[in-house]
């Protein structure tokens, strides 16, 4: 059981800055995120793309922003629980008992949901029969590549994951790479490499094709792919891999009794608390009149939610407003030596 003042759900920029604000006012926190690294959408969707509207930062990338936020909260030694999704929430007297998908448990005074648009999950094939094979001979991510040795693998997608795995697996497996158009979104060097391998007969590239159906008994045996113009090809396959990026799902948050409005959580603008006492929501996941889905708005929301958490974490103490420039206590928490 991890006992801390506040549990932050989501390690995107908003969650990270909220951790900073909690640290400044002397509260402890831990952060849970479904992804394998901090940064949220900034890292998952646009690590290299520039952002131009962070106050006093004329230009930075999603990755730079994340790294700077991590540096900013370093003094507080915040504990991260990555690859974990919060599943269960129970009120236990004045505190919350929280459990994650991996069985990590927390005992906290307050919860801040900074979950973006939900947790990232792989996008799946639209073909219904795929579900039957998922996790056995059809995958959306690779955990153990050794199972593909000397097998026939059909890979679907045109981004870096699809290209990288097609190139790597072509060394030990028979690879079919299927993509819906001639263009690819992966890096040019990989696209060239795939085309070379195709020319050398080390890989079979099918463009303008999409999945039509999969069949097999317990394991996949064949995959049918359909061309834009209607032509259908049947290809033998032991395994099917789909790389269509990630989609965001609100998931278990829907069952926590919060007022949900179009996939977002309603909050008040005084301290960004939801209709449930002790549960706050900030960043893209919260909604209120005038809400802007900007990172800077998330920072503001996090600062106020952190102060909202104070009365739950330290009910007998009074929070006094201070500036980091002059507050001795805040500077001590930041580890500044004078």
């Amino acid at each position: 059981m991890n006992k801390t003042d506040v549990l932050i759900i989501g390690a995107g920029p908003t969650g990270l800055f909220c951790a900073h604000q909690l640290g400044i006012i002397g509260l402890s926190c831990e952060i849970v995120d479904n992804l394998d690294k901090a940064g949220g959408q900034c890292i998952e969707l646009y690590p290299d793309k520039p952002i131009y509207d962070i106050p006093a930062v004329p230009e930075c990338t999603g990755e730079e922003l994340t790294n700077n936020l991590l540096k900013q909260i370093k003094p507080f030694n915040v504990k991260f629980h990555l690859n974990e999704r919060v599943e269960e929430l129970k009120k236990n007297q004045n505190r919350w008992h929280v459990k994650t998908s991996g069985g990590v448990e927390f005992d906290v005074a307050a919860i801040v949901i900074a979950g973006g648009v939900g947790s990232f999950e792989p996008r799946k094939f639209s073909v219904k029969e795929c579900e039957k094979f998922e996790g056995k001979s059809l995958f959306y991510s690779i955990k153990d590549k050794s199972i593909f040795k000397d097998k026939t693998i059909s890979i679907f997608g045109g981004g870096d994951s699809a290209l990288d795995w097609a190139i790597e697996l072509s060394n030990v497996s028979k690879v079919n790479l299927i993509h819906r158009r001639d263009g690819f979104s992966g890096v040019e060097a990989s696209v060239q490499k795939v085309k070379e391998l195709n020319d050398q007969g080390k890989l079979n590239l099918f463009t303008k094709y999409q999945m039509d159906s999969v069949s097999g008994d317990k394991q996949i045996e064949t995959v049918k792919i359909k061309h834009d113009e209607g032509d259908i090809k049947e290809i033998k396959s032991d395994y099917v891999l789909g790389f269509f990026g990630l989609i965001m799902q609100l998931g278990p948050i829907l069952d926590w009794g919060l007022n949900i409005n179009k996939k977002t959580v309603e909050v008040n603008t005084e301290n960004f608390e939801t209709n449930v006492e002790g549960i706050f929501a900030i960043g893209d996941i919260c909604t209120y009149p005038g809400k802007l889905k900007l990172i800077l708005s998330g920072f503001h929301e996090g600062a106020l939610a952190a102060r909202g958490c104070f009365k739950y974490a330290k009910p007998d103490e009074k929070l006094r407003f201070e500036f980091t420039t002059t507050s001795k206590a805040a500077q001590e928490r930041l580890g500044i030596k004078k």
Partner: protein, 106 residues
Amino acid sequence: MAKITYHTHDNKTHTIDVQKGLTVMEGAIQNDIPGIDADCGGGMACATCHVYVKEEWLDKLPAKEDGEEDMLDMAFEPKNNSRLSCQLIVSDELDGLEVNIPSKQG
């Protein structure tokens, strides 16, 4: 205002006057038309505002910018007439546009 017609997956048709300058995505969101999620809010970063444009409109729409086709690779059942509705800005030229909303976005 321009009239945009959204055909939703439940076989309903919604014809809406959308203010010029808004996107086809925003027209749907503001009028509670089901089936367009627009998770990223219009940043061409999620492909959950994917629509199928009625064939005769395909050539009349502004060309796709870099990135839209890449993002469409991620969409649910993309076709040749797929577009991201956040990239279609409503103007006089788009008056009468009809789009079909897919059965789901992911």
